[in-house]
Symmetry: D2
Subunit: 363 residues, 4 copies
Amino acid sequence: MDKINKIAILTGGGDCPGLNAVIRAATRTAVLKYGVEVAGFINGYKGLYLGHTVKLNMDKISGILPMGGTIIYTSNKTNLFQFPFVEEGETVYRDVSDVGVQNLKNAGIDALIVIGGDGTLTSARDFYRKGVKVVGVPKTIDNDLAYTDVSFGFDTAVSVATEAMDRLHTTAASHHRIMCLEVMGRYAGWIALEAGIAGGADAILIPEIPYDIEKVAEAVIRRRHAGKDFSIIVVAEGAKPISGEMVVSKLVEDSPDPIRLGGIATQVANELEAMVGLETRATILGHLQRGGTPTSNDRILSTRYGKAAVDLVMEGKFGHMVTLRGNRLSSAPLEDVIGNLKNVDPQGDMVETAKSIGISFGD
Amino acid sequence: MDKINKIAILTGGGDCPGLNAVIRAATRTAVLKYGVEVAGFINGYKGLYLGHTVKLNMDKISGILPMGGTIIYTSNKTNLFQFPFVEEGETVYRDVSDVGVQNLKNAGIDALIVIGGDGTLTSARDFYRKGVKVVGVPKTIDNDLAYTDVSFGFDTAVSVATEAMDRLHTTAASHHRIMCLEVMGRYAGWIALEAGIAGGADAILIPEIPYDIEKVAEAVIRRRHAGKDFSIIVVAEGAKPISGEMVVSKLVEDSPDPIRLGGIATQVANELEAMVGLETRATILGHLQRGGTPTSNDRILSTRYGKAAVDLVMEGKFGHMVTLRGNRLSSAPLEDVIGNLKNVDPQGDMVETAKSIGISFGD
Amino acid sequence: MDKINKIAILTGGGDCPGLNAVIRAATRTAVLKYGVEVAGFINGYKGLYLGHTVKLNMDKISGILPMGGTIIYTSNKTNLFQFPFVEEGETVYRDVSDVGVQNLKNAGIDALIVIGGDGTLTSARDFYRKGVKVVGVPKTIDNDLAYTDVSFGFDTAVSVATEAMDRLHTTAASHHRIMCLEVMGRYAGWIALEAGIAGGADAILIPEIPYDIEKVAEAVIRRRHAGKDFSIIVVAEGAKPISGEMVVSKLVEDSPDPIRLGGIATQVANELEAMVGLETRATILGHLQRGGTPTSNDRILSTRYGKAAVDLVMEGKFGHMVTLRGNRLSSAPLEDVIGNLKNVDPQGDMVETAKSIGISFGD
Amino acid sequence: MDKINKIAILTGGGDCPGLNAVIRAATRTAVLKYGVEVAGFINGYKGLYLGHTVKLNMDKISGILPMGGTIIYTSNKTNLFQFPFVEEGETVYRDVSDVGVQNLKNAGIDALIVIGGDGTLTSARDFYRKGVKVVGVPKTIDNDLAYTDVSFGFDTAVSVATEAMDRLHTTAASHHRIMCLEVMGRYAGWIALEAGIAGGADAILIPEIPYDIEKVAEAVIRRRHAGKDFSIIVVAEGAKPISGEMVVSKLVEDSPDPIRLGGIATQVANELEAMVGLETRATILGHLQRGGTPTSNDRILSTRYGKAAVDLVMEGKFGHMVTLRGNRLSSAPLEDVIGNLKNVDPQGDMVETAKSIGISFGD
């Protein structure tokens, strides 16, 4: 195995609390434990394409542990294997990954740590197939990447959503209202599920369990009969009704407008108001879940991932992604991880716990 | 002057952090300082109409200081002087205020403390005109009631909005984006102004200063030229462009759906994205500004107001509202307060401070 | 197996964020899932001795999820198997556990859920040996109970300590100081370890790794040579120097004064000041780690434990304690759990991670 | 008047949330509004003595608004008019202020903004007497500087103390304990008073109102008779008993050990435990009140002060300190401010409010 003298780090996709903590831990581990140089590509794969790097040393990463965001910036939907060019008024896609490979060589970079979600890691896998020494770090605020129990940023998102529920709770109670809170989770309902349990929701609607609005209304009415004329409902952005079409979520990363025009929480609110006869309000948390200082938990997880990624590099375990199973750090091949979604198990312990304490899933 | 043996408290209008602290301080002052009984009307003026009261004593108010909401509940838009009845399929409005006056007598209530905003206090004034011994406590999360420098709940709203800006900041910076945050303030831009200064906004758009979107774009572009390719813009829900029509705000209290369909922050975001060429995102804070535990500041202010309201009652200063001018508690006649909006002064010290540090108001 | 008609809950030992969430989840699960009645013993084992119970139903537990403390109160160091009586001026200890057993029968209680730490659970085991149908729930803010990966309250304590470090950090940097923060952990250093990683500590001193103050001083000096003339040091209250005597901790539960008189953080601070020549300050977090609203994480864990405890009762799995291994709920015999401390592994992944990023343990 | 081309800023004394916000606002105002250069002296007056400056421009101050501490560092007890030298084993004090004056000239600095408390501002006044163009900004976390209603950092300190009380509250209630919280305030009890009201204290002990421990005990016992067997007591570090000697506070800035050895809160706790028969605990907040991110309120106030200080400079109003009276920015001569303490008025509205709601001051 060739000696590793210089590692580069790249962050891709949406913002996620803990990115800086990963960068910090990876840099410190490389420098202090292995005496290896570190660089960062600016703006994710864009920086790889442009050969735009910045030196990462102890000074550069000083003070970034509690900070949200990423000091090396990120880009969305940048894929060097399908890079858009406008030619004669039309967009054509070309594979410019060779440029990235060449830039790695030019900069003397022996291995690349890619921090990202499914899309970003797919490119990482593709670069690995081309011979680049790649190690992945899972980044998904929705916590839906397979082969790892939990990813950083998720605890912060749940924490922000729970605090929002605490705030909505007092208003719901004072006004006898139904408050619907829409949280992230297009394909997996983890944030809604955990924030729903932590925030004392009366109903949780997630993509994995299609909901019957009548069942949700029944839960609210049952509460009313028990003397509680307010309810809190957490709705994952990807929740879908059991019958009829799914409301198309417009809260997508590449949209210029993240506010859904009559989205799922608003729809649920409107339907419940009509069915139950209580005032209803919808709130969409949106980007507040993605930014800001990470929880202590996320800072620890990020630090463990950053350190473990450098260890993988030094062990030569390329094409792998760091993982946490139970409380143990491990790794999994990117080939296995890609395209595998980790969904909420409708029969699993968490949903069962929620149901046991009386939370409705509308099923 | 007749002796006061029993005081009732009533909370009206939207939720506001500090309501419970007012109720607690008023009850403690009445019971401990004056040996007077206290009751609460349930659900605001609805409770007055229905004669629905609850005894407020030391036990009942125990532990409510840090809690958002109101333990005696509230109702919106209930006006006993224009109370809706449906007759032969049509809604007619009748003056049922005599029922309220009679209920006060029946319950042996000598004076009424009304905690509310302009609408709620207008009814309070009308009851005072009818001979009811009324004292008012100003409640406006927008901080737009005249004759008082600051009202409780406002500091909490600014604090929640500032924390939201801190979170959006890291995402804006990491992604080179413009983040637009819409905060409350239909007629007065206080929340936007203060949160904008506290959260490091690059532009603040408020109702008092109609904005020219080109000027806002210029400010963003100027920042770009100075090497900062992200911006944070705070938009009061009542902000309006200098030309053309105001976007009709749908985030109104009586709407079933508080999410604006293409509202002002979204419009500003869309226009800026087109003009500046940076990705843009909008977030609407909505009800998160209204609920939850009050800041220490708001707890103190609420406590001062609650105590002062009972003092006014015992001094026989009816028809007055408690106020805070500078750091001094005082009072003002409800007649003067009603209908008087306290707006941001475009030439005032706060706007001048904001402009001096480079914040654009789009003017 | 006899049918279970009524379950009682008892909380013992020191305060711990999440107790109310366990009580709430157990009550809801018992009532809603199994249709079983629930009671709470007031003041832990004292209440069992006095037959002092309170009915726990949906109303009683409403709104307690986000609250610290325990609505059924607790007592410290109460052991019915060795209960103190003063006779002729002397304290003698008697076994009064039969009174507790009789009180359970009198109140028609079929099974007892005991939420507590090692001491409280030892009594629970002893009652189980006497034939009482007992199920345990682990409660240790120090996270040092064996057979479970994590216990509720711990995440909150780490979170409070991390926030404290964030605050101390800015002062340390502005003043070129060494700030020593003493956190809980008499026998196990988990809080210090995790808060140290999350808060960016430069050194972490824990009971499991005796420290050499010279090594700690070297770490601080090394930082100085690298241009960083401030350091943050987290000290577990049970940390001990490699040589010489351990400083006797006076921060013990039964002491009237929790402020250590020249305790371990103060000693470390004084020694470092003398050795390094930087100003040093010590802060002792104390009870702030034990109270207040639990993190979202702790609320979820508490909810899972409360629900699982009732499941164990209904399955007849008595003498067991609920546990969480990896991400799976399970159980372990109280006999195995008692007296087994879960310590930080000096060779484990967490310590290795900390060392890899340059944190000194003084070894 | 000579033209101002370059302003320098200097921060002195203890840490205080908002210092960076003042520096940021002053720099932005100088650069953007007046086109004037800005420098910062490193480490307060030490930097002035050593001629150690750093350029402050838009880049340098970017991102510091939400950060505690001061990017230009500070020093304690440095007085160029009485500077210590060790000569033949003895410390002698010399006036080296001319060195400072010369360094200002050498660096081309036309005016100096000094941010500090009574000690720091006394030196500022002395430099002004020597002809230096000085403007002061009040910095006192205790809020005890005269001629200004409120100083930045104070709201953050009250907020941290209130949050601590919220945490202690649940433990006090669960354990039937008296919790004593010691907060800052050596000469003025503002933090104790405001946090006491905001946190629901049962007694508040401040320097301005000597306390009779028997009266405090009576208040606790009265609560017990009313069914509340726990109490929260806030003690300012400078609180003193009505008779007997004041406990000498060892929590002084220049002490190597900020932990009081049997200080005032501990003494109060011990005495109450003996008199009342409830378990008692003391917690000393210490440096946690001084660091970390400022509240939104403090960020606004700091911004206003920073901007106003530069305005004073440009108006040529030297020898003055910026002030806030009511809600209006103004200024006062340093000569008047120095040595004037702003104490809590025992007959004032705040104390009266606290007493009206049943809070004991032990008088």
